[in-house]
Every structure is written in C-alpha cells, then in structure tokens.
C-alpha cells in the first residue's frame, strides 16, 4: 500500500452540551484555529458516552476519539462526569491491554470558558494521532472506502 503524502487523521470529539461544547463554541468565537479533521458530536453530558460509540467510531474509520466534559465537580448534572471518568479510564486501560495504541483515546475536561484550552487540546490531540498514523489495530476494512 502506498503511503499517503500527508496523513490527515479522522478525529471524533464528543463534547458535553454544557461545558465543552460551549468551550468549543468559544474557541470559534475567539477565532482560535484547530484542524478541520476534528468533528464534534454534541451529547448532553460526558456520562452519555457509551463505549460502543467509541468503538463504532474506530470501526467506521476514526483514528482518534476524544471526550470532553465539564471539570469534575462542575457537572451540570452534578455527578455525570465522575461516572464518565471511571468508565473511560477502564475502557482506555482495556484498549491498551489489547495492544491498541493508548494515545488514540483521550479525555479532557474543558469548561465553557476554556476556548483556548479546547483549541490547544485539539491541536495537541491531532498532532499526537497524526504521529501515530492510521488506525490499524481497531479497523474494519469493509468500512474503508479506498
């Protein structure tokens, strides 16, 4: 297979409606750039993120998945991100255990005021995943068009 000249990873960012989605909006309002490969899916709370969604994203061709939610203690629903934190910690640990690159998944707490942090996080994450290259270990070849 030919190595593409410039690899542009597909990144799915799940953002909670109350903090991180607003934080993403804020980085837009402040015109803070981050790569277009990042696509945001709005969920009500970080605790809505089902591990199924993450695996689904990888299956369908994502190279990295990131979850952003309110900082612990600031959850709009008081406790949601605490549950999300445990779920994601365990899931990521399991993926790592299966030998799947641990840098492909990440959780970051971004408040509605942290537009700059959102952009910086996305830049950093895209850079990390770009270095890793294409997701090969959790891919579903049928879903890859090329």
């Amino acid at each position: 297979m030919q190595v593409k000249e410039e690899f542009k990873p597909t990144i799915v960012a799940f953002c909670c409606n109350w903090c991180s989605y607003a934080g993403a909006d804020l980085s837009g309002t402040n015109r803070l750039q981050y790569p277009a490969n990042v696509k945001i899916i709005r969920i009500p709370c970080s605790c809505r993120l089902n591990p199924m969604f993450i695996l689904r994203a990888f299956q369908r061709g994502a190279d990295g998945v990131i979850l952003c939610g309110c900082h612990p203690g600031d959850c709009h629903y008081t406790t949601g991100n605490y549950y999300a934190r445990r779920r994601m910690t365990l899931l990521f640990s399991m993926l790592d255990y299966l030998g799947i690159e641990r840098e492909r998944t990440r959780v970051e707490w971004v408040s509605a005021a942290e537009g700059a942090k959102f952009a910086a996080t996305m830049n950093d994450f895209v850079e990390t995943v770009t270095k890793l290259g294409e997701n090969k270990r959790l891919e579903d070849l049928r879903c890859k068009s090329e």
Binding site: Y21, S27, C45, C47
Partner: protein, 663 residues
C-alpha cells in the same frame, strides 16, 4: 423515509467567507431523504424563518436541518419556527458550521468540506429523530417552608402575599429562630425583637400561612410540583386550640430546675413553658424529659390551674401527610460546640461565654434583665476580652470549620460597642485575625467602635485563658505591638463559628438535595441560581446555604419566595422531552440505572409478562419519571442490555452521526 429540508445560512460573511455555502447546499441536496436544500444570507432573520416555514408546507417536510451558528445560539429559534409551521420542534437539527467550522478555519476548501460533513451528520441524525412532546405535570399550589426563623418567616410571608398557601414546619415550640435570642442588630443597633416579633405576628395572622410548630419533617416523596411530605407533630401535651397562653401553668409548675434553652442554659425554666413572652404560637408546651406527671404519674398541677382545660397528658405524636408544589429549606445555623477549644477555659469558668450567650446577657428579656453581670458571681465586669474566629478558618481537621463564619466580626464590634456605651467604666479588648466588614455601613460601624467607643482592637490571638482568683488571666499575642499580652479579664467572649443545623443533613437526604462537605446546602449554580437547590422544586433560604447576616438572609428569603411563586403560578410544568426511557421488554431490573441517576427519577415495578406456553413471567422493570429526569444519560451507559435510551440523543442517533462523520 423522512422528507428533509436543508437550510444553509451564510451568516452574512461569517460563514460564507470560509465556506462555499452553495457547494454545501448542493452537496447536501444529494443526501438520502433530502428533498429540498438551499442557502440564504441570514437564516435567523424573519425572511429566513418565513422561508423555512414556507418550505415545510410546500414540501411537507418531516425534518429540518439548519446549517448555521451554534445550536446554543438559535436551536430554540428554529424549533419555534418549525413548530409554527406545524412541524414537531424536535424534528430540527442544527449543524454548527460557524463556531465549529467557518470561524476556526481559514482555507475555504477545508471549511466547505467540513461543513458538508457536519451537515451530513445532522441529516443522519434527523433521519432517526422522532417527534417529541413535552410532557406536563400538574402543580400543587401550596408551599412548604422548613424552618421558622427569620428566613422561613420571610419566605412564607412573601409566598402568602402572592396568594399561595404556605405551611411552616418548625421543630421548636415557637417560630422566630435565632433572631429572637439576639439583642440588637448591626449596623443600625435596632432591637431585634422589635423588628422580628411583628413579622411573627403577621405570619400567625396571615390566613395563607399555617404554622406547624413543634413539628418535624419525617419523609418526603414525589418531585417538583408534586411533593408529598409526612410531618410529625410532636406531642406538646397541651391542646393548641384551647390554650390561651395565659402562662399561669408556667408559674405554678413545681419543676423549676430545667435549663432554659432560650437563654442557653444561663437560667432555668419550668417543665411546662412558653419559650418567651412573644412566642408564636403563644401556647404552653410540656417538656416530657422533666415533667413529673409524665414521668411518674404524680403531680398534675398545671392541669389543675388551667382554666381552659388545655392540658392533655395523653397526647401522642401525630403524623400528617400533605401535598406541596415547592419546598423551601430554611433550617438555619447553630454556634459550634466549644468542647474542643478549652484553651479558652469555656468549660472551666462560667465567665467565659459564647457570643450568643453574651447576647442573652445583654438582652432586657434575658436572665439578667439586660444588666451585664458575670454569670459566676453576678458582679459587674470591668475588663472584657473578645476572641474572634474561634473555630472558624481552621484547616479542616476535626477541630473547627474551614470557612469564615462571616457574621462574627460585625456582632463582635456590636458587642464591644454596646458594652462601652452602656458601661463607660469598662475596658474592652477584641483580638482579631482580620476584621472583615464588607457590607453597607459595616466598616463605618467597626471604625466607630474603635474611634468613638475606644474599643481596643488587637491583631493577634488569645493562646490561653487561666481562671484564677475570680479573674480570667488572658495570655495573647499582640502582633502589631510585638509583644505578648497578659490581661486580667472579668469576662471572655468567644465568637464561636457557626454551622448548619444538625437537621439539615437528614433533610437533604429526604429531599435528594445535595450538600457540601460542611453540610451547607448546595446551590443549583453558585452565582446564577443561588436560591435554588439542584433538585427541582427545592429552594434555599437563609444560613442553611451558607453563613449570612440578617439583611442577606431576608434578601435570600425573598428571592427564594419569588422562585417558589414563579413555580406555583403555573398550572402545569412542561418537562424536557429529551428524557430517558426504558424498554421494558429488555430491562433486567438490575438497578444499575437507578444507582447512577442523580435525580432519583427511576423506580421499579414488578410486572407480569406473557411467557411461552401461556405462562406469565413476573419481572422487575425500571420506570423513568419524565418529570424528574433531566436527560443526562448516565443511565443509558450503566444499562448493560441497552434497554435504557435517551430521547433526542438515542444510541442510534449518535451512532448515525458517528457514521456520517467517519465516512
């Protein structure tokens, strides 16, 4: 198949400068289900909205995707637009191509490509949207106020004035709370009783207010608009409807040695008592721990002297159950115990008192009739030492509280000033760490104490108090003077930290309201929703939410009342339709969802299902109360079988978005 219309907004040049809107609307037109696709300069303008409505009618659209600014901006706008055209408002999805696309990218090709993908994701989601109808739940037009101090009284009065019935539940025999024990109020020095007791009378006479004194909340069920509360009316052994409050029984009762809690044990009362002259309701109460008749069956003096025949030794606790639309917590505060601070010799000398005890010693209705006398020997004190921050601002060990109790600086200045004013022959020292006086006329008040009344304010702290030969030898640091001071004082007054009333924590559990580590109730938002608990329908009034002085308490009480009124004027509450729901065919009944629900919205029932061969299978299944559910989705992930799903953000919808983005 849905019939979807796509509307791409230019937002002037905000979007159109970096996104080729024509290319986007052309590309999205080819998506499955899309029957109409266009772009327009300002979709949120009246003309833009009119166009959407027109196209809904023209094409019989069943779903609308607007590619525009953030849904946080105009989702509601477009939902309303569509609703007016007869489309269910929840059939609208927004693709955020401004904040999350045009504004963060410079290259038009990139921006256009991304906008198309975001549009596809929204289309994929809307394919799976279902019309949602916001449910409604009725509102019981009655409020419950728990706690009858100034906070509870003010809240009740304001709610009652708006025409709604209110019950006040107060655990003591009278309402009035801590303020009844206070002598004068800072910074105006008006008498607390003079401003409080008229309000107590107002509350008693207001026909919308029902005072349940000597009562406690036993259980709370239900949810916003529909609480059901069990209240224990403790037996006071006096028929409230018959007692005239003449007080004869309280004079004749032979049991005279009962520590008087109203005066903080500084004097005694009888076993049958009325806490103080202006008590509301002015009804006697028998203290079962001391009454000889109740303990041994011999006595009956009060019954003999009562001309109204109100004494009833057989009275039992009574449980009543009532419905309320809203509940206000106003459980107030108490000074902390001084047990852990005996370096100040509180337990060793009666002349070391807390500030609240000092209030009683200065109060005309107090044990000394308002003359300041030493509790030990009844003599006039000449040297008084006030110690601030006793138990406040500690580092969170078992001793003391980590927070500032807020009111101590001001009441200490008040005490010092009043002492100097009444008794110019006294020397008054105040040991402080910081003097905190943020409030209207507060710092002026403190300065007056220093400048006009000659109170010695010393930055430093008392390290030891030694009672000896009728004096209190105070050893303290004077940090600015650079010396250790040794003062022979006659009285030492401790500004004890305040803490939430002990009843607050069990109450919070009953209300499923959250608390901080110090047992203060938590606000729904510390800045923007300071009088609401995160639990819908529960409101906070007064010091149960945090240390507060009287004006702040009254202000918050009024704010809580206005929130309650805002709730009670509604006949029905509209619920957020994006709530969880359980498919009972798949539900295991395992309680996983219930455990992670922050709102207690999930309950279980045993239900019979048809099994094979005409058998019946009984299964435990979850039920979501849509009026209580706030739609966070925690339960959906906790559920292993996938029985629990979230409307508006269903598993299928989110996965469709994932698919569209990763394609």
């Amino acid at each position: 198949m849905q019939k979807i219309g796509v509307f791409v907004c230019w937002c002037g040049s905000n979007i159109a400068a970096t996104v080729d809107v024509q290319a986007v609307s052309d590309a999205l037109a080819k998506e499955p289900g899309v029957v109409f696709s266009t772009n327009y300069q300002y979709m949120c303008s009246q003309a833009g909205q009119d166009m959407i409505q027109e196209k809904i009618r023209e094409f019989g659209l069943t779903g609308v995707v607007v590619c525009s600014c953030s849904p946080r901006m105009h989702e509601t706008t477009f939902r309303k637009t569509c609703e007016k055209a007869g489309l269910n408002p929840y059939m609208v999805e927004i693709a955020n191509i401004r904040e999350q696309c045009s504004w963060i990218h410079k290259d038009k090709e990139t921006g256009t490509e991304k906008a198309i993908i975001l549009g596809r994701a929204a289309i994929a989601k809307v394919q799976l949207n279902a019309p949602l109808t916001a449910g409604q739940s009725p509102v019981v037009k009655r409020a419950l106020v728990i706690g009858g101090g100034i906070a509870g009284i003010q809240t009740a009065l304001d709610i009652a004035d708006a025409g709604f019935p209110v019950d006040i539940v107060e655990t003591k025999p009278t309402i009035g709370g801590k303020m009844t024990q206070i002598d004068k109020t800072f910074p105006t020095l008006d008498c607390a009783a003079c401003i409080l007791t008229p309000k107590m009378v107002d509350a008693a006479q207001n026909e919308n207010i029902n005072i349940l004194s000597y009562s406690e909340v036993e259980a709370v069920k239900g949810f916003v608009g529909n609480f059901s509360v069990t209240i224990r009316r403790k037996a006071r052994f006096v028929d409230e409807t018959k007692c005239t409050g003449c007080g004869l029984c309280t004079e004749k009762c032979p049991q005279k040695k009962v520590p008087n809690e109203f005066n903080l044990g500084l004097d005694n009362r009888r076993a049958i008592y009325i806490p103080f002259a202006q008590a509301v309701p002015k009804v006697a109460t028998i203290d079962p721990n001391y009454c000889t008749m109740l303990k041994t069956g011999k006595c009956g003096v009060c019954s003999k002297v009562c001309t109204a025949g109100a004494i009833d030794y057989q009275q039992k606790d009574e449980l009543i159950e009532r419905e309320y639309g809203a509940i206000v917590a106003a459980t107030g505060f108490n000074p902390i115990s001084m047990d852990k601070f005996d370096e100040f010799a509180y337990s060793q000398s009666p002349d070391v008192v807390t500030s609240l005890e000092f209030e009683r010693l200065m109060n005309a209705a107090g044990p000394t009739g308002g003359t300041l006398l030493r509790p030990s020997d009844g003599t006039h004190p000449h040297t008084l030492v006030f110690v601030q921050c006793v138990g406040s601002r500690c580092d969170g060990g078992e001793k003391g509280k980590p927070y500032c109790s807020k009111i101590c600086c001001m009441y200490t200045a008040k005490h010092a000033m009043l002492t100097r004013e009444k008794y110019p022959d006294t020397d008054v020292y105040v040991f402080y760490i910081d003097v905190r006086t943020p409030g209207k006329n507060f710092d002026e008040f403190y300065r007056r104490a220093v400048e006009e009344y000659g109170v010695h304010y010393i930055k430093g702290m008392v390290g030891k108090v030694v009672p000896e030969n009728g004096k209190l030898k105070v050893q303290a640091s004077d940090l600015l003077g650079g010396q250790q001071l040794h003062i022979d004082a006659d009285m030492v007054v401790l500004a004890a930290a305040i803490e939430p009333d002990k009843s607050a924590r069990p109450l919070a559990t009953m209300l499923t309201a959250s608390m901080d580590t110090n047992d203060f109730f938590t606000e729904a938002h510390p800045k923007l929703r300071p009088v609401e608990s995160p639990t819908a329908g529960v409101f906070l009034s007064g010091a149960c939410q945090g240390p507060k002085d009287i004006p702040e308490t009254v202000a918050q009480a009024g704010a809580a009342a206005s929130k309650v009124i805002g709730l009670l004027v509604k006949d029905h509450l509209t619920c957020n339709p994006c709530v969880a729901s359980s498919n009972e065919m798949m539900c295991n009944g395992c309680s996983a969802c219930e455990k992670v629900c922050p709102y207690g919205a999930i309950t279980y029932i045993d239900k019979d299902f048809r099994g094979p061969n005409r058998t019946t299978l009984r299964r435990r299944v979850a039920q979501v109360n849509p009026a209580v559910c706030q739609g966070c989705g925690a339960c959906t992930v906790a559920c292993p079988s996938g029985a629990m799903d979230l409307k508006g953000f269903s598993n299928a919808q989110i996965m469709a978005e994932v698919d569209a983005i990763c394609k």
